[in-house]
Structures are given as structure tokens and as C-alpha cells.
């Protein structure tokens, strides 16, 4: 009798050791934490990652903790360390400004997986993954349509700081606009802040006064710029999240980040025991970036068709946006 129990224990142990970790992970509730600079429902950068993980929550059990509004990097660093100490399986530092902190913290917690973005740098650490958005692709599509819509031959961009995904988007937009109309005046105003709503509004007004009759912008401060554009009924191209509800009468289309595309890959790797060292990207081809048109905006069919053709061209590689 005792011997049969021993055999059974041995067989079970062997099965446990040999079973793929994905099988073991199935059904396990993963503990995921997000640390992000602005509000979780900012209709921009932070909301995009929160929406991404919530989409995955429909498919697998995830215990989600969010610390948002950590525009002070030191606060974010404290939160990152705190979640790692609490034994979270995956800690997502959603902000390129958190890289320095993560580089210091991650080696102290080798059993915790960290992901951060937008960036392509894993610091050579085996428990840090990075993710980024090919925001230039959506920017390019928007730029093509904006140039086609402009009657005065001028388009404007309200940018935050010339780094990361914001720079990619802005550069893509300008490149797209120039590709559509080489004579277009594409003016870019980096206001030097991700959060100064009042300054963003004034930057939009300055751009409009200088002859830009189609606008775009990126980061959480654009709510101010959208308000200024709305007052003058100037069309707006949105990015990071669908911003139609901020100004349904002027938002033409939104580049929406579907971070769930990379989050699924990160979690799948985590199931296999891979905690980091990998780089991920969302783009139009893998469905991580989607252009959502505002049905309430009367967009000329020719312009929409142009946009759709450009999307197809980027997907099949016939159009280069500068990121690859």
C-alpha cells in the first residue's frame, strides 16, 4: 500500500516537473500592476494601457492594481518597488520617463517581471521587457489625410517633448503630410510639457493663427488644444486613444493603441517562464494600432479612401513611414 502511494507521488512529481509552465499557468490569477503618469481615464496615453490589460482580463484571470497620476518620477519609482516587494507577477511602468528608475529597481527583484514603455531598451536585464508603438504609422496616415483636407495649405501639431512615441507620431504626421502635398506647411510646436493644458490650448491657437487649418497633437495635455480647435471648428486628428467624445464635431479619426496585442505576448512569455529581455511593438500590421474614424464627422469619401489606402500600403510595406 505504502509503495503504491510512493509510485503515485513519484508520477505526479514527474508530471509537475515536466509539464509545460503554460499548462500550470492556466487558471492561475496573475497579479499585474500598472504605474502610469496621468489619470487612468485620460483618453490618452495612460488609458490606452489600462484598456489593454482590461481587454485581456476578459480572457484570463488577472488581479490588476493601478497607480496612476505619478507624474513625479520618484513617486512612480516608489510604487514600482512597492509592487515588486508585494510579489506582483508583472509590473508595468508605463512611461518612458520611468526607465532610469526601473533600471535600478529591476535587478533587486529577479523573480519579478517588469515591462516598460514606450521604449526599445531592456537595459540588458533578463527580467525587463520593453514595448513601443509604431506611432509614426498612424501619424503618417493622419498626415496624409490632414494634408488632403487642408484648404490653406497648412497643418499644425501640438507636441509635448521631442522624445519617444510622441516624436515618432509627430515625425510620421509631418512625413505623411509632405508625402501627400510636398508644398504643405507643417508646423510643429513642442510645448515642453506633457501636462500643461493651458499652454497646449495657446499653442493650438498660435498654430491656427499662423495658417494651420487642420490640427493634431499627442499626450495628455492635448485636451486643451482640442478645446481651442473646437472653438474655431478646426478638424482634429487624435492619437493614443479615441478622443471623439471630447469634440465629436471636429475629431476626424483617432489612432488607437491596442496594447493588448503586446501584453498578450508578454504574458504568454511569462507563462513560459520568460520574464524579460525582449522587445515588443504594436503597429498597424499586427493590429496593435488601429485607425478609428469618427462616423459623426462628415469626412469627404476621397479623403477617407486615401487614408484607407495609406493604411493598406503601410501594412503591406509599400509605404515606409520612417520607423523601420
Amino acid at each position: 500500500m505504502k509503495r503504491s502511494y510512493l509510485y503515485l507521488a513519484a508520477v505526479l512529481s514527474a508530471l509537475f516537473l515536466l509539464a509545460p509552465s503554460s499548462i500550470l499557468a492556466a487558471g492561475k490569477t496573475l497579479r499585474v500592476a500598472i504605474i502610469a503618469p496621468s489619470a487612468r481615464n485620460d483618453l490618452a496615453f495612460t488609458q490606452s494601457i489600462v484598456d489593454g490589460i482590461k481587454a485581456i482580463q476578459k480572457e484570463r484571470p488577472i488581479e490588476l492594481a493601478i497607480t496612476d497620476g505619478t507624474f513625479v518620477v520618484e513617486d512612480a519609482a516608489a510604487a514600482i518597488r512597492d509592487y515588486a516587494k508585494k510579489g506582483f507577477d508583472l509590473v508595468i511602468a508605463h512611461g518612458s520617463q520611468y526607465g532610469g528608475s526601473l533600471k535600478e529597481i529591476a535587478p533587486d527583484f529577479p523573480n519579478t517581471a517588469f515591462a516598460w514603455g514606450t521604449s526599445a531598451d531592456t537595459f540588458g536585464l533578463s527580467n525587463v521587457s520593453s514595448y513601443e508603438a509604431a506611432s509614426d504609422e498612424g501619424g503618417y496616415v493622419m498626415g496624409v489625410m490632414a494634408a488632403a483636407m487642408s484648404k490653406k495649405g497648412g497643418v499644425g501639431v501640438v507636441g509635448p517633448v521631442e522624445v519617444g512615441a510622441a516624436k515618432l507620431y509627430v515625425d510620421g504626421f509631418v512625413k505623411g503630410a509632405k508625402a501627400q502635398n510636398p508644398k504643405i506647411r507643417a508646423k510643429v510646436n513642442y510645448i515642453g510639457s506633457f501636462s500643461d493644458v493651458a499652454l497646449a490650448a495657446e499653442a493650438a491657437r498660435a498654430l491656427m493663427a499662423s495658417g494651420a487649418d487642420v490640427l493634431t497633437g499627442t499626450s495628455q495635455m492635448v485636451v486643451g488644444a482640442i478645446g481651442a480647435a473646437r472653438a474655431k471648428r478646426v478638424p482634429w486628428f487624435a492619437t493614443q486613444a479615441n478622443q471623439t467624445e471630447l469634440a465629436p464635431e471636429i475629431v476626424v479619426a483617432s489612432q488607437v493603441y491596442k496594447w493588448e496585442v503586446v501584453l498578450k505576448k508578454i504574458l504568454a512569455d511569462l507563462d513560459k517562464g520568460i520574464k524579460g529581455g525582449r522587445k515588443y511593438q504594436i503597429n498597424l500590421a499586427n493590429g496593435g494600432i488601429v485607425i478609428e474614424f469618427n462616423d459623426g464627422y462628415k469626412l469627404a469619401p476621397k479623403v477617407k479612401e486615401l487614408g484607407l489606402k495609406t493604411i493598406a500600403g503601410i501594412k503591406d510595406g509599400s509605404i515606409k513611414t520612417g520607423n523601420k
Binding site: G69, E162, K187, G192, S193, A198, E202, A203, A209
Partner: protein, 310 residues
Amino acid sequence: MADSLAVLIIVSTIASGIRLATPFLLASLGEALGQRSGVLNLGVDGVMLLGAFGAYYTVLQTNNPYYGLLVGIGTGLVLGVFYGFITLNLRAEQGVSGIGIYLFGLGMSDLLFQKFVGTPRPILPFMPLHFPVLSDLPIVGEMLFQHSIIVYIAFGLVPVMSFILYKTTYGLNIRAIGENPEAADSLGVSVMATRYSAIIIGNGLAGLAGAALAIELGIFQQNLTNAMGFIAIALVYFGAWTPTGVMLGSFLFGLVQAIVLQCKTFGVIPRSASDLAAMAPAIITILALVVVAKRFKQPAALTKPYVRGG
């Protein structure tokens, strides 16, 4: 052609500077009043944030920006009573108490926003006023007479505040207790009541500044003020505690911001120097503060709690 473009840019820049200066001016005027009575309030930004949320939520519910302004002022007045109780009755250290108010405002405004609103939703902003003849004047019309009502309220408060401070007994009392509360007390001036009133009015103006910002932008989001309240405190020192000086400081700050924006728009400032240029308003303010601090003295009793016979 080039001349008309240059005029257009100058007009647009000055108009932009005036708009950008408005919330700073309102908050600075309020802070100046409090400091003239001897009370420092580092919590201006927190009061602005709560005033901004109160105004935003009111407009969201009522679709009436004027109700929003009133709620913004009311929020500031209530916080003024609270701050007065902490600093005057409890005699708490003013610097630390102010930071406490700031943190309270920062956290509470966001909490209330998340709880009652969630995702940013646009509200009805103030529309530019149209004055017969004046608004249609070339150059000057766009520069000075096409702003929303809040701009005229802010700049109109400057002579009102000057009159109160320098031409009324109440103003004399404020200045007296800010310099020498013992002497004022010996002459029968209630230090407690005067300081209370100055703090309450000052906070009311900070609440109005926040309300003006939210309604002018037509939106609210976390940390909407982006530390404007702290700049407003610096502008009080810049303006040597006088309404006119505060107005000039606010306008200069707003104008430099507007000039930098225009220069970036027209590519005068290269993109590589963009972030550096964004610091220009703060750098100019600091430089001006260094100059002003040497020439003018702050109210002698500033930050010192008053205890009769103490």
C-alpha cells in the same frame, strides 16, 4: 505682406499673453492680499485645483459658466476659512500648512473627478465678448477687446485691489498688521478678524483663478493647474506685494510664454532648443525675483503668527 504678417503675429502674441496671464493674475492678487496681512499661503495651487473642479462640475451639470465661477469662488472662500482656522486659531506653521492644503487640493480634486466624472468631458467655455466698435478696431480690437469676461474681471480687479489697499481704512489695517501687528492691535485693529478676511478673500480669488482656468479651457483633468499656484506665489514677490506689480509680473510671465510659443510655431527657435526655451518664463521670473528681492522688503510680519502680548 510681410508687415501685415508681422502685425498679425504681434497682435496674436499679445492677446495670447493676456489670456495666459489671467489665472496667474487672479491667484497672485489673492495671495498678495494675504501676504500683505502677514499670512503666507503655499496652498494656492491646491485651492485653484479644487476651485477648478468645483467650477467644472457645476458647468457640466448646469451648462452655465457663471454658476461655475460662483462655485469656484465659494470653494476658495470655504478653504480660506479652513486655512484661517489652521494658521490663525491653531497657529500652525504657515509654510507646512500651505503645502498641506496644496496636497489636499491636488488629491481631493482628482478623487472627486474620478468619482463624479471619470473620463474628461468638455464643458461650455466662456466665449469672447464682443464690444460694439471696440472689438472691431484693427489691431487693438483683437488684442484687447476680444477676450472672455474672466480676462476683464481679472484685470479690472487690479485697480479695485489698489483702491482697497491704499485708499481705504480696511486696506490700511491690512498693511499695518502685515508690518506691525502689535502696533495695529494697540490701536484697536482686530488682527485676527483682518487676517481672516484677507485670507478668505485671497483664497476666494485663488478659487476663482482655478474656475477661470477650467471654464476657459472647457475641460478638467488631473493636476490641471500644472503648478500655476506656485508661480503665482513667486509673482507676488516679483510684483513687490502691489496689485500693479503683480499684474505686470503676470503679464510678463504670460507674454514670455506666448512669445516662446510663437517662436516655436514659426521655427525661430530650433526644435533642439525647444525644451530649453520652455524654461524661459521661469528663468526670467527667477532673474526678476533676484532683482526685486534686493529692492523691496516683504511685509515684516509675514509668516509670523500673532499672539497678543506674546
